[in-house]
Amino acid sequence: MTRASRAGVLLASLASLASLAAAPRAHAQTTCAGGRVVTAEGYCCWPGQRWDAEDLRCSGAPSCPAPLTAAGEACVDGTSPTREPPPRAPTMVRADGTVDYGAGTVTRPRQAIAAPREPEPAATGPVGGAWPLAGRAPPWGPRNPRRVTRSIEGLQVTGALFFGLAYASAVFTSVAAFAHPGSPRVLGGMGPRDATCHDTIGAFLLVPVIGAVVAAVVGAECSVPLYTAAGGAGLRTGQTLSISSEAEWTTSAALSASFQILGLGMFLLGTSLSEEVTVYEDGTTRATLAPLVGAANGLRLTLEL
């Protein structure tokens, strides 16, 4: 190799090094050299570029300070050969590549993992040199999963929903029963009206669970004596007035009783049984109801904030 050719090789090497230095290899910095500026994330990019947190590189068309000129997403010296920006494929190196933690540097990997796209220049630098900054908020995703054994909350919630809806229906039925004017108490449809059976059903329906059961049974059996008008006086007859012809009252009470019992059963089952589930520290507020057996038996309500 002649002296001239050696000088050419040396100049080419220096030019390559210069272009490598100009490539958008960013680090979290407070000050930047070579005309680059600090982004909001603390990385050095060329003016006009932004920090791509996903690809961990500067992206966008740069506004290169003189005497540099834009070449793709890099600013290069006009005399230096241009270099394409790194591809989007993540840079990964063989895990069996030598890593020197003691010196705080990572050696160049022996072989790059075959990526589906063009490989990015190998990463070199201290461990953590280009780790991304999460900022004030943690990275996206639920935090810190853990396995806990707790009541079957799905069954509890479903049971509570069943019970609540059934009891609400019972209350509405009760109001309707109280508001019912009743049936004529005198034979022939004239005279005062009697709403004893309706009121009885309405009163029982206000009692949860057992009240609806009683209302369904009592409603079917309830009867009051009928009177006949004779000479301005009311005479009791052997006939009775019942609401058996108004089956909707007893049907409604029976349905409400069934769903209240079903809901209560599901809730108690969900409370007494337990399952292992995964929970995350997502910062949500939740209440847990679980059986407590020990010095004192009962239910324990836990509120997590």
Partner: protein, 131 residues
């Protein structure tokens, strides 16, 4: 009319299967931390050690950028998990392909790995203050 009922039945089954598949998935990304370590190197070493203890050898590793690529341990699986470390001490575990989150077996493996990382990185006591 019967055909219409059959169509609704098929749609119902499809919807039920979709719901079941959705219920079987785990979050596409799980975040562990922030881990309390003296430095990023210690966090990186602890992460690697935790993964090794769980039986995972990174297929690719980039300590400079804080990334790792972990092959699934399921027999015959070509799916991979990703690990991304953050300067604040967070370690993010995800799927290389986010659609993998809907595969129950992979979701279980992902969750087991996340639990192992949390136990080792997040639940450890704070380092002793240096005089």
């Amino acid at each position: 009319m019967r055909r219409a009922h059959g169509g609704w039945s098929v749609r119902g089954w499809v919807l039920a299967c979709a719901l079941a598949a959705g219920c079987a998935s785990t979050p596409a990304q799980v975040v562990i931390g922030p881990a309390r370590y003296d430095g990023l190197e210690q966090l990186w070493e602890a992460t690697v050690a935790t993964l090794a203890a769980a039986g995972y050898t990174p297929e690719a590793s980039d300590p400079y950028r804080g990334r790792m690529l972990l092959p699934s341990r399921m027999y015959g699986s070509r799916h991979r998990f990703t690990v991304q470390c953050y300067r604040e001490g967070w370690v993010q575990l995800g799927y290389e392909d986010s659609r993998d989150a809907h595969q129950p077996a992979l979701a279980r493996e992902h969750l087991a790995l996340a639990l192992a990382l949390r136990e080792r990185l997040h639940d450890r006591p704070a380092p002793e203050p240096t005089p």
